[in-house]
Symmetry: C2
Subunit: 401 residues, 2 copies
């Protein structure tokens, strides 16, 4: 059983963090974060599948290959992407400077950058920011670090859970940023998971990948995926459990804990989607294959017509069925049932004479569930998204300017 | 050479049309159209690939199999989709009634319906509308018919061209509706092409399919495709040319004419995209395959982030490169050039220090061209889309209510 408490990435033992403002963001908000383990931790990561990859992300993908890491440096306000050679050099310099200050190898430092694409990093600011953040590293710095990675996020996304395994209590903490350009594999999001569990690198990697698939890779805000997305997990062993080295009961408990943390953060991202007024959970059941279930749920979650209808609190289920129709999923339109909340609005592909007032009431809620049953097989999937509002257009019409 | 003139589907010889208001639309606007050839015409069609298909469309797909048709009846305001058996019966009745009035076989009548999904047709209105429209059929009825098929369209879309073939002058007319739920294969669009050419059914079909691929299937407003989309072409032979029965010079001239008509209408659809303030043409060159070119152009044309940036007149080319990045196309990010209008903003995957004022000036235009060169191969594609504005959200947040 997980015990959830207020906290974040510095809740597990042996993690320090800081978040500072160094001048990358024009508005003076916090823009540089460091998360550090007091001793080298095993590390695992999941990275964007976009063919274009930011320079900082490229460096991180190389450094994480060893499986060990001391710290993660993240700047917001600039994606450090599409700059050419200089961008890569800047990321290498960030790692080198941090390693020097923390007295470790540059390869033990991971780098994340998020923000505008195609603008060179302001390196004098970055350098002074890294120096300041290393000085300020503290056991209470988790929240500051979260604030420093936010871009268009309206609220911080943090959580910590305590799990019991055979001979110890283990804490898993997490934080994330992400609000727009959100779609599987992966969104403009950065997620950081820290834990004091003593676990092998291979199993940390496995737990993270499985959790990400079901959580962060099941959030869609606008169908766009960015060049800087990553979720990184650190485990430093400070909980002094006897070590999770095989797929045991302890591993299952650990995995459940990681999934809990990732689920919480993924839902927070959808809720905080740019301009979002509602969190929408789309579930597809009865698909003939895993791929069909995914394609169907993905197509509905991405549809601007479905999302604007939800913003307008309009039970326009025809758009939901239509989106399933062009998803590529194999199904029989004459079998499909669709429910909005507890109200079935379409049975066997046909309109039901449902109570419009009841539908309106459900659609006025802040969290809405849409369930689609294809009644064809045994496969299911679900995805979180949000509605599509005027503010999405406003936020994204003037992001760069 | 094509001569373009003001006109539409009744410009070719031997076509009559009418558009009337019969009460399907609550606002009293025209909602029923009939397009009829004075004698049986050869007919060809292209239909939605959505697995969910409207009942009227299903009837049309059956009736067009013979290759001959006398008339097309279209109602707007109701898609006649997802109603169950009654919807199919209603479409059959529409064909039967029209056939009876025009004294032909029901199989010679094609039916189109566009509008809200899941609501049964108001058949008393439809019946009186068909009776009235048949009475009013006239050589000057093209524009009325166009008005009667519009839903959220802000303006009619019509054109006629005259082409010269060896022994005659041939006229090709066209009209279309479509504004939202627009994406290849096919959009919520209906297109009607009429011609007095004497051409075999096989070659009419071939000319139409090739034109549609390059035109209507290269328009994206929001990535959604509907259940009622169709483009239908009629050729009645009234021009008395000696008959196009093989792939001759005459066939090439005819095909060019059809493509011209379809290109015009497709661009009009993008321009009139729901809430659109700008027509955007995306071109991808230098792709390694036809599929890569298509995937890349499609991904950029669909991206809400690209489309909101254009609405905001923000030269955020990073989003363009990012959309190519997740398109699935095979390319090297370090080779990509991107231009907005005549201004190159990214070379070899890197930011150029371009003149922001010049970019702003280009983005203030009503028609914007974006060119992406992958510099990897010989394949190209292009697609029309529009920007994504507050009004898209407004229009689609309350369509059904």
């Amino acid at each position: 059983m997980n015990t959830i408490f207020e906290g974040g990435i510095t809740s597990p033992k042996g993690f320090l963090a800081a978040g500072e403002a160094c001048g990358i963001k024009k508005n003076g908000k916090k823009d540089i974060a460091i998360i550090s383990s007091i001793d080298t931790a095993v590390a695992a990561g999941v990275f964007t599948t976009n063919k274009v990859k930011g320079h900082s992300l490229q460096v991180t993908m190389e450094h994480i290959k060893s499986g060990y890491s001391r710290a993660l440096v993240i700047n917001s306000g600039n994606a450090n992407a599409c700059i050419g050679e200089q961008g890569y050099k800047d990321a290498v310099e960030m790692a080198g400077l941090t390693a020097n200050l923390l007295q470790c190898e540059p390869e033990e430092i991971l780098i994340g950058s998020t923000g505008v694409i195609g603008v060179p990093l302001n390196m004098p600011s970055v350098r002074s920011g890294i120096r300041l953040a290393v000085q300020r590293l503290s056991e209470n710095g988790g929240h500051d670090a979260e604030e420093a990675i936010m871009t268009t996020d309206l609220r911080p996304k943090e959580i910590a859970v305590e799990i019991e395994i055979q001979d110890a209590k283990v804490i898993i903490g997490g934080m994330a940023k992400g609000s727009g350009m959100i779609h599987p594999n992966m969104a403009t999001m950065i997620g950081v998971i820290t834990t004091d569990a003593n676990i092998s690198r291979g199993l940390l990697d496995k737990a993270l990948k499985e959790a990400v698939k079901k959580t962060f890779n099941r959030v869609s805000v606008d169908g766009d995926t960015s060049v800087c997305d990553m979720v990184v997990a650190f485990a430093n062993g400070e909980a002094n459990n006897s070590g999770i080295v095989k797929e045991s009961v302890d591993f299952e408990a650990f995995k459940k804990g990681v999934e809990y943390v990732c689920t919480f953060l993924a839902r927070e991202i959808a809720k905080d989607g740019e301009g979002a007024t509602k969190l929408v959970e789309i579930a597809v059941n009865g698909a003939s294959s895993e791929v069909d279930a995914y394609n169907a749920v993905c197509s509905v979650a991405k549809s601007p017509l479905v999302k604007t209808a939800i913003f307008g609190e309009d039970a326009n289920w025809g758009r939901i069925l239509t989106a399933v129709g062009y998803s590529g999923a194999d199904f029989d339109p004459n079998l499909v049932d669709i429910s909005i909340g507890s109200l079935m609005v379409c049975r066997n592909g046909c309109a039901l004479d449902f109570d419009e007032a009841a539908a309106k009431k459900i659609l006025k809620e802040k969290e809405i569930k849409i369930a689609i049953n294809l009644k064809k097989g045994q496969y299911s999937d679900r995805m979180w998204t949000c509605d599509f509002s005027y503010d999405y257009v406003k936020i994204n019409g003037s992001y760069r300017s």
